[in-house]
Amino acid sequence: MAEALFSVAGLESGYGDIQVLWGVDLDVGHGEIVCLIGSNGAGKTTLLRTISGLLPARAGTVRMDGADITRAGPKGVLATGIAHVPEGRRLFRTMSVTDNLLMGAYLRRRADPAVAADLERVMTMFPRLAERRNQDAATLSGGEQQMCAIGRGIMSRPRLLIIDELSLGLAPKAVDVLSESLKEINTQGVSVLLVEQDVMIALDLADRGYVLDRGRVTLFGTAAELGAAPQVREAYIGVA
């Protein structure tokens, strides 16, 4: 494979005395959608938090375009073009939808006309957000909140969008809308690293995938390979 856009090598991380990640290797190529699947407690969220600098890495490296960003911190990681949509959306509750989206462009110059253009692009992509642009984020439905969170993520013009749990707690119809928009974002040249507990959705969206188990990558391959792998079918899809 050509030089990956983004790669993680031998990454170890944890909280206090508890080590969660035990040497994770993973990469995402240009224009790829890569999914990360695994059961609760496998370390998926910890991996994403370590990548985006919310949690310090204990060992290993994180690279973007070949440059080491392991200790760049959240701001530095974002500045290299990685946006992280956290689990549970984490919108700014009493800010309007527009203000939430503008927070996504925090590192960009406010007066930059491209920011206003991107804002309209998000509103076009998610007409529901356009209707509610002046409402507080807390008044949105779960699906709308996820739209807002993803919109906020792409407002930084990332080259890699990391999403922690796309579908969790959402109605199937909302998941369909979000999946479509994710594909659209991807076709505009943004690579995606998707953590998703619903393996069917994950494998449907992704080109490739990794299975994380107890802090280690136990399996990886194309979406088709993973979908056919007995371990995956048994453990995560529930059919043998």
Binding site: K75, R90, M95, L102
Partner: protein, 338 residues
Amino acid sequence: MKGSPLAQGVGHRAGRASLTRPLCGHPLPEGEGSDAASNRSFLVLPGPTPMLYAQILLNGLLLGGLYACIAVGFSLVWGVLNVINILHGSFVVLGSYIAYFAHVHWGLHPFLSIFLSGGVLFVVGYAVQRGVINRVIAAPVLTTLVLTFGLDLIVNNGMLLAFTADYRTVRLEHPLGSQIIGGLVVPLDRLAAMGLAVALTVLLFFTLARSKIGRAIVAVRMDAQAAALMGVDVPRIYAVTFGIGALMAGAAGSLLSLVFPISPLNGTEFLGIAFVVCVLGGLGSISGAIVGGFALGAIQSFGALWIGPEHGLTIAFALLLLLLVVKPTGIMGRKGYE
């Protein structure tokens, strides 16, 4: 708690006292009550009448604006950093001293020295947060409370050493005096001070609502981790927020130098006022601080009329306890800093 410094001259009971009746319960040198001269005329008002009530309400509101300005910085710091800043009262006093010395040495009017005291206090606040409090910001609220308590002991005793406990007053060369408007005595300097205090508070509101740094402060207040993911430098925003809290305290101190005698001993009382206003109005919103400030001013003035000026603050605290039982979120209570 000593008698309310501002309760003087608010009603017929206060009328018994002479004009040189000590502010803050402490004696003033002879002839130093000139800034209170504006209160003279309504001290001779007859017993309770609708006009008297209106006058007392006015006096309360004149205080209230200043109270709001004292409290809003305290509320901001509490809301955003989850730090109960015991230093806040001393910051106010420090602002008053800056106004005092700027007036004595450079003839700077306290209305103008708000920029100086606000600026100096911003730098002090920023440095204290960046250098000291940020190191324990993740600790439970009691830890930061003890830390700011200790810092307050240092700052307050430092001021006692530097400035002594003597009461000083800013005596304007050309006080505006007072005007009778619609039968009410309006002390113009106090009115202007209140106007400026409210203007500063409103300015803070728009800074938080509109400016980039303001949006970042609000974002950090709601979810510091999510804000970090947006590229917000959270420790820096903490320091800026603490600096702004100190700035508001310093500016309020400048304005208060026209109304209160200045002494390090007042720090505790200003802190108490900030506490009551925040809880009264509802913690964590500027509108809450404004409503709480005016409410406290009015409560204190009417309390002084009905029960006695020496009990003004007692009544305020009693009502505060009652409110905590009945409506703990405060009058404007709502979660999240807007």
